[in-house]
Each structure stands twice: as C-alpha cells, then as structure tokens.
Symmetry: C2
Subunit: 199 residues, 2 copies
C-alpha cells in the first residue's frame, strides 16, 4: 500500500495581502480586524468556511502566521483556521511549543470562539492568550456545530495560564457569519455525528 | 511576507509494513494489534510519541489509512496520531466526511483514549465508531496531558451516533506507554499551559 502526502498551503491570494518582510498590528482591535477580513475573503474568494485565525507575538503584535479554514478546499475536516495558523506558526518558528523557554509570548486571534477540537488544540500550541470575536452561539445560530465543550471552557484555559478575551469586535465578526449564511454557504460537518438521512 | 507549505507524510518505514494493494483486518483485536504495533515502532524507530491510529472500513476491516504521532518529527503540536490518520483517510477518499452518503461506515482505532483535541476532531471526521486501547489515565500516569474533556465524553460521542469501545487489548497498549517512559521518551506539551519554569 502507498499513502499520499498531505500538502497544506494557504490560498494564493492570502500572502499577497502582506507586503514587506513583516507586519505589525499594535492593538488587539487591529489584530482582530485583520482576522475578520481574512474570514471575509475566504468566503468571497474561495466560497469556503467563514473562519480565520492568526498567531501574533503578544506584546508587539508582530504577525507570525495567519490561517483560514481549508476544510472544503482540501477535503480535510481537521483544517479549521486555528489548526492551520498554529501549524503554520510552528513550522515557521521550528518548534511544537510556541510557549517554550526564551521565546516571546504568543497569542492566537480568531473570528469565532473555538469548536471542541480547536479548543483542545490551544493548550498544546503553547499560546498564552486567546482572543475571540463572535461567540460560540453566533456560529451555532447559522447551523455550525461547535461540538461538546466543557461548560467552563474559558476558565479551563485560564487555569492553564491562557488568558481569554471574548467579544472583540463581535458585531463585525457576526456579520461575516451572516453573509456566509445569506450566500448559501455550505454548513459542513452538520450531521452532528448521526447517520445521513435515509441510511 | 511568505508562508511555508506544511508537508505531512508518514515515516518511511511505515508503508513498507503493508505489502500488496490492500490489507484487511477482520477482527477488532487484529485492528488494535496493528495500531499497538505502529505505536511501538514509532517509539523504536523514531524515538517519537508512543501513539498510533488507523481508519478502517468498519464492516470488512479494510485498512484505509494509518497514522502515527508526528509532533516531534514535524515540530507540529496538532499532529497527534488520530489527526494524521483522519487527514490521511480523507485525502485518500477525497472527502472531508468519512460518514457521507453512499460510503461504507468507517471507524478509528487508537492505542490510547483521545486527548481533548482529538476527541473534538472525531465527530468532524465522520467515523461511526471509536475503538480505544489504553485509558486516558494510563497516559496521564506516565506524564502526558490529555486536556480538559467533558466528564461524559464517551456518552457525548454515543449521543452523536458514534459508538465507543474501550479497553481493547488495554494491557498491551499500556506496555507501549511504559516502554516509552522507561526509555526516557520526551513528554511533550507537559507544561499544562503554564509558563516554563523560571519565566
């Protein structure tokens, strides 16, 4: 038997947004503004999931790596935006722990609170802060399944030393979700684990 | 700015284990036996995480895709064995939903119960059954962090139509974890989210 290689790359239009060798976003609002714009572009240019994320150096706001949801483009259920941004940042920095010794603190900024999978990935990534736009329920209301998360998920991160900021530009973040729904975007993974109808 | 491509491939020794165009493992014990052996080989040949997984057609036992933990080899925190096996199976079958219409039912077999991230990924994958070897606490006892899972995680999968089989060849599965610990294997992601000592 032979097994393929999985090649995960960002869409072509994405790196073109970032001129020069580095980009810095001093305020949290600017960081979230970028992430919301990436989510919007992922819908507009790819007709893909309305989710984006980015890893920044927490103090300076230097962008380390962006990510967008690639589930539909790459036929891969695990490639949520957070997973792509984490994996990309770790590839760039050459470490599986963004919180390792002698490294600046890192954070992940996402346009919608994490699903159960991405929530579970956050402590493994080594980030020190999670900044969220839309709430979990804002994604559920348009039909996305966020999975079974511990009810005190934000506290569980805090107890691990990962600070959580919620509702950052929430209304703007919601508008991208609503545009996706209005445009008839595919709500993938919406079976909630049950068999397809008719089987 | 430019961003790299992430290339996820199985270790070279792995495909060589599977002669011929396809391999079938009729019983659940045989499926788990394979997965435990892959975990053992990942330690022996790669000095890497003692975890493996495989996606099978549930009824026939036809192997679709194996996976091993690649965190240390690829410096990527999200590449747990389950994630690799799911992504590989979806790439091979060309779909982000292994439970889609007109497909045979699929299952994932893993040598240790899933961490919070992989648990969250399972409903998104489309598998219909999860077969586990060692328990969550067997991994914790050697120092691995399994994350914050809902206390009724197996029930939460069952409620989504994903059947959970526990303790399949548990003692054999534990022996691989113990060997890893005895050999001084790296317990990665063991900071539990807190800052490294001394910072």
């Amino acid at each position: 038997m032979e097994f393929p290689e999985l090649n995960v790359r960002l869409p072509e239009w994405l790196p073109k947004l970032f001129q020069g060798p580095e980009r810095v976003y001093p305020s949290i609002e600017e960081r979230m503004g970028l992430v919301i714009e990436l989510a919007r572009l992922n819908v507009e240019k790819e007709k893909a999931g309305p989710f984006a994320a980015a890893v920044f150096e927490m103090r300076t706001g230097k962008l380390v790596a962006p990510g967008v949801n690639l589930v539909l483009q790459l036929n891969c259920a695990i490639l949520h935006a957070e997973m792509v941004a984490i994996a990309m940042a770790q590839k760039i920095l050459g470490t599986y722990d963004l919180g390792g010794p002698a490294m600046p603190a890192h954070e992940i900024v996402i346009n919608t609170e994490p699903c159960a999978m991405c929530l579970g990935a956050i402590p493994w990534s080594g980030v020190r802060r999670l900044v969220c736009g839309a709430r979990d329920e804002d994604a559920r209301i348009i039909g996305f399944d966020e999975g079974n998360k511990p009810f005190d998920w934000a506290l569980s991160l805090k107890n691990r030393g990962i600070y959580v900021v919620q509702d950052m530009l929430r209304e703007e973040a919601i508008s991208v979700l609503e545009e996706y729904q209005s445009a008839g975007g595919i709500i993938y993974n919406s079976r909630r684990g049950s068999p397809p109808a008719g089987t």
